[in-house]
């Protein structure tokens, strides 16, 4: 049977004329899903990279205190907060930002302003990378699905 692929193809084309369109539709949906995942992951990576820029600038410039903060109640770094809001799922970003805001004064009191900012950035980037990992796991499973499709669909 393996030596007559043309015959099989002709027979399939005669008996199931709509099959190719169904397969093409499935592939189009699959490609669409993969594209959405790729865009999501790429956006999160870009946000993480852009978010890291102020850390480098702050470390280089040695800024003495947060622009928005005060001695009594320090404000979290604005860019880090935006990064969290942008990159994390909405149901998680609010509690995480609140938790970090709650802990930040204690860190600042114990270790100083600069350490507190670095700590906040470390938490923000660590959190984003964790959730990015979860999203990439989803992307990997889509890739696995695509491999299965290529292997088992008669294309």
């Amino acid at each position: 049977m393996r030596g007559q692929p043309g015959e099989l193809e002709d027979r399939a084309r005669r008996e199931l004329p709509g099959l190719r369109w169904v397969i093409a539709g499935l592939i189009a949906v699959l490609v669409g899903l993969v594209a959405i995942k790729v865009v999501t992951v790429a956006t999160a990576v870009l946000a993480a990279v852009l978010g890291a820029v102020p850390v480098v600038v702050m470390a280089w410039a040695g800024r003495p205190e947060s622009v928005r903060g005060s001695k009594n109640r320090p404000s979290p770094p604005l860019s880090a907060e935006k990064l969290l809001l942008f990159a994390l799922p909405p149901r998680i970003s609010d509690p995480i930002i609140g938790d970090l805001a709650e802990r930040l004064p204690l860190i600042q009191e114990r270790h100083g302003d600069r350490f507190a900012r670095v700590w906040y950035w470390r938490q923000a980037l660590g959190s984003v990378s964790r959730f990015l990992g979860l999203r990439m796991t989803g992307a990997v499973s889509l890739a696995t699905l695509a491999r299965f499709a290529r292997r088992f669909l008669p294309l």
């Binding site: 404000s75 979290p76 149901r91 998680i92 609010d94 509690p95 995480i96 930002i97 609140g98 938790d99 970090l100 805001a101 709650e102 802990r103 470390r122 938490q123 660590g126 959190s127 984003v128 990378s129 964790r130 959730f131 990992g133 979860l134």
Partner: protein, 110 residues
């Protein structure tokens, strides 16, 4: 024990902390408790992503609290262990105990 009910070490730690903290369990309190008891410095994101996984599996449930000024007007998300979560934890303990019982026998054989 089905493959789907297996818990990782960090998942187990979080479920124990949820049992210990009861109604006071939210992101920061869970994180602090873990840091104090285990001495490991994880990020807050590691705690939340694990809680998300556990919630997706039905082992943990969550509800939003009220926003407070000391949190910059952000609300807490409170977590609690479900019946399925408690059972999964018991099952993990049982599995570890079973495996531990094999150790002297393995030692005697070698």
């Amino acid at each position: 024990m089905g493959r789907g009910t297996a818990l990782g070490p960090f998942q187990q730690q979080i479920l124990y902390v949820l049992l210990r903290l009861g109604e006071r369990a939210y992101g920061m309190s869970i994180w602090q408790e873990l840091e104090e008891r285990t001495g490991e410095a994880k990020t807050i994101g590691a705690v939340y992503s694990t809680l998300e996984r556990l919630e997706r599996r039905g082992y943990v449930s969550s509800r939003m609290g009220d926003p407070t000024p000391e949190r910059g007007g952000r609300a807490k998300r409170y977590y609690s262990i479900t019946g399925a979560g408690a059972m999964a934890l018991q099952e993990s303990e049982r599995m570890v105990a079973t495996l531990r019982m094999l150790l002297p026998r393995l030692g005697a054989e070698s």
